[in-house]
Amino acid sequence: MAVYLLRRLGQAVLILLGVSFITFILLYVLPADPVRQIAGRAATAQTVENIRQQLGLDQPFIVQYGRYLANLARGDLGRSYLQKTDVAELIRSRLPATLLLMAAGIFAELLIGLTLGVIAALWRGRALDQGLMVTSFVAVSAPQFVIGLLLLYVFAVKLGWFPIGGYGTFAHLVLPALTLGILGSGWYSRMMRSSMIEALRADYTRTARAKGLGRLRVILRHALPNAILPIVAMIGIDIGIFMGGIVVVESVFGWPGMGQLAWQAIQRVDIPIIMGVTLVSATAIVLGNLLADLIAPMIDPRIRLR
């Protein structure tokens, strides 16, 4: 186990190194000059060159990348070009909000998705099943912006049950988490449905039923745990999807997370922020996958870590 963990962590470092290299090279070849953005339109050519030198952007790629890695090794993510603040501080101030929303979003999508999936599987082929599957298809395809605004309009503006956007209390969390939950539940309900149908057909379920166990007990004790297994692996992957998709939801609900930070930085070629957010997101994805792999054998003893 320890050897496995060490090897996986080693791989994680290599992956992050690769991500940092690719992002850095993409930003380097990007036809946009961050110095122009800092210098502004009133700047003279001399000012522009001066700033370029101070930021070390006049150096060859390999020197710039080397410096970045050296700073990174010391835990220094650099300073934002335009916000003039340490990137680590900007991320630190926004990471908790994103993690909270992500956790709540995953909880919501599992709750909705798994419940609907199980119901659909049990009523397989009936009108209820078909209705649910069409709904989940709509949920998967709907733009986050639309769902978010719709929920906001109905439950916050019209009914006044929740605040209209913002951050701070549990009430603020409900609608954005629900938006993410509804959108993500589509995948989970479909996965859960097919997985559950398979489990209900499996020999061990038939055996359980043959033993004379009640229907509910068969479903909860025998079919469900087996059906849930492939879903666990999906949660790990889902963290990556969340990191990408959370931008829109954060923006609709005024949620002060990392998505908004990344979006603004990309618009203005604020390279240190883009690098920082990319690395933190990549770390989250790598750790998410690792976590999923570690949990799998706990649920299914047939899986061994190698």
Binding site: R36, A45, T85, G165
Partner: protein, 534 residues
């Protein structure tokens, strides 16, 4: 040196008591308001901040030697009580207002003024506004040693010597970048001064939760008595404009800082109750198309004129809900020096085709139009594309992020650029501000903001002449600027399309003159002079 008593100086002398009197008799002090923005506030350091969001926040936290009458483009003294200008227009002597205190309680002196100007021009500060101070003597050698042209005569007198006459200098002294900062606070916070600003302004920063909210608290010792009216301003960031509008309608927000979202504009204006709370005003903005005059086919003036005649500006304005007026010259109508009598190129596709034929492009040509990729700019570009197609020009659209469009324009790679979204709103209300970087020879260099790469030596010489006046508001000077822009339009490096109007929405409880809500200098609103009525 002698006292200089041209029109402005006289107006300024008369203005002194007015500073104390321009308080509104109907205003009731007290109350707190809530503002929203989508984007984060970057820095509040006056030497660095150059955004839509932080521009007027900085104006409320700090002061400069000069200022403007609220809601107007008319200069008045700020931290300077009075000033004199030498006969040759090269030496400005500012007498400071006594008893002005920084938020930390220390009295502001001439040393602070010098320190602030030295700091903003020091290349180590990386100020985007450093170039505005280029006319101060010693600017070329600015650095740790400071500006040789700025001298402290005594604790309440600063003498600034210019290397060339500069009509815009008093405007520059009213620009955020010139605002006075206390050395001890800048040194205490170092690079983080922008997050811990200390100034002399009407408000001080009480709290800043990054990515969420800022609270500005009234400065009880502000040097204009009775100002500001509000006790506090809460700015909430990260709010989508549509959501901000919903919150306004729900009574939670007083000013949506990003304005009325395009999709909601018709709805708001169609409701008399809401429309009554929308203030409309001009702003110092022009939306234009640049044509790279150094490359065929736009090296031919007939082609550039044809493009000007091809545009159906009224139809383009419909795309932005009619929130603009058609433009026929680079200057916006509310800018001094605007040529009122100039008719411009009228919409005439047939005439445009004839011009193209004269230039040898009877069958049209293919080109590229660069445009920033945020709404409504791609839609505007499509309308331009259709107008061009009607006279035989096939323009393919390059929808790119702002930074990429700026890069392509600066490098001279873009045959045509639509300026929308690139933030060309005047830095200060003077006609020269639309020339230097965007139409003058200096800006035409590689990487400059003159994307048409237009450089007319005759016009450049006229511009130098116009800026050699001492009084920025001299009618002769403004007339000269009108002539300059009309001459430029004959060469047609730009096709001006429209001047955007500003629409600021406010909650029912907001009070104060309408002009404060469409203040041409303090954008979006003048925080110091607005008040609440309940």
């Amino acid at each position: 040196m002698k006292h200089w008593l041209a029109s402005t100086a006289l107006a300024l002398c008369l203005a002194l008591p007015a500073v104390a009197q321009d308080t509104d008799p109907n205003a009731k002090p007290g109350g707190e308001i809530v503002l929203t923005y989508k984007d984060d506030v970057a820095t509040l350091d006056p030497a660095i901040g150059y955004d839509w969001q932080n521009w007027s926040m900085i104006k409320s936290l700090f002061d400069g030697l000069m200022d403007y009458y609220p809601g107007t483009t008319e200069l008045r003294p700020g931290l300077a009580e009075s000033y004199t200008i030498s006969e040759d227009g090269l030496v400005f002597t500012f007498k400071l207002r006594p008893g002005v205190k920084f938020h930390n309680g220390r009295e502001m002196t001439a040393e602070d003024v010098k320190y602030s100007l030295d700091r903003v021009t020091n290349p180590a500060t990386q100020s985007p506004g450093a170039g505005f101070f280029a006319s101060i003597a010693g600017f070329e050698n600015a650095g740790e040693g400071g500006l040789s042209g700025v001298k402290v005569v005594d604790p309440s007198t600063v003498e600034i010597t210019l290397s060339r006459p500069d009509a815009t200098f008093l405007h520059v002294m009213a620009l955020n970048f010139s605002y006075v900062v206390p050395k001890e606070a800048v040194e205490e916070w170092g690079e983080d001064f922008g997050k811990h600003p200390v100034g002399t302004g009407a408000y001080s920063l009480e709290d800043w939760t990054i990515g969420q909210r800022l609270t500005f608290r009234k400065n009880p010792d502000y040097w204009i008595s009775g100002i500001p009216y509000l006790d506090a301003i809460h700015v909430e960031v990260g709010q989508e404009p549509v959501v901000a509008l919903l919150r306004l309608q729900n009574g939670e927000v007083d000013i949506p800082g990003d304005g009325i979202p395009p999709a909601k504009f018709a709805e708001v204006m169609g409701d008399p109750e809401q429309a009554a709370r929308v203030v409309e005003g001009g702003q110092l903005h022009t939306g234009y198309i640049t044509m790279n005059v150094t490359q065929p086919p736009f090296d031919k003036v007939e082609v550039r004129r044809a493009v000007n005649m091809a545009l159906n500006k009224d139809r383009i304005i419909q795309i932005i809900n009619g929130r603009a007026v058609p433009a026929n010259q680079p200057l916006p109508p509310s800018m001094p020096g605007y040529a009122k009598d100039y008719a411009g190129y009228s919409f005439d596709p047939e005439g445009a085709k004839t011009l193209l034929a004269e230039a040898g492009y009877a069958d049209g040509f293919e080109t590229e139009l660069y445009v920033m990729n945020t709404d409504p700019n791609p839609r505007i570009a499509q309308a331009i594309q259709q107008d061009l197609a009607a006279i035989g020009i096939t323009a393919s659209l390059q929808n790119l992020a702002q930074a990429n469009v700026i890069e392509a324009g600066g490098a001279g790679q873009a045959p045509m650029v639509w300026s929308g979204g690139m933030g060309w709103i005047a830095d200060f209300p003077d006609p020269s501000n639309f020339y230097g970087p965007t139409l003058g020879c200096a800006g035409a260099a590689d990487g400059g903001w003159n994307w048409a790469k237009y450089c007319n030596a005759e016009v450049d010489a006229l511009a130098v002449k116009a800026d050699s006046f001492t009084d920025p508001a001299d009618p002769e000077r403004l007339k000269l600027w009108s002539e300059i822009y009309v001459k430029i339009m004959e060469d047609a490096p730009w096709a001006p399309v429209f001047n955007e109007q500003r629409y600021t929405m406010k909650s029912p409880r907001m009070g104060g003159a309408d002009a404060l809500y469409v203040d041409p200098v303090s954008i979006p609103i003048n925080y110091d002079y607005v008040y609440v009525t309940e």
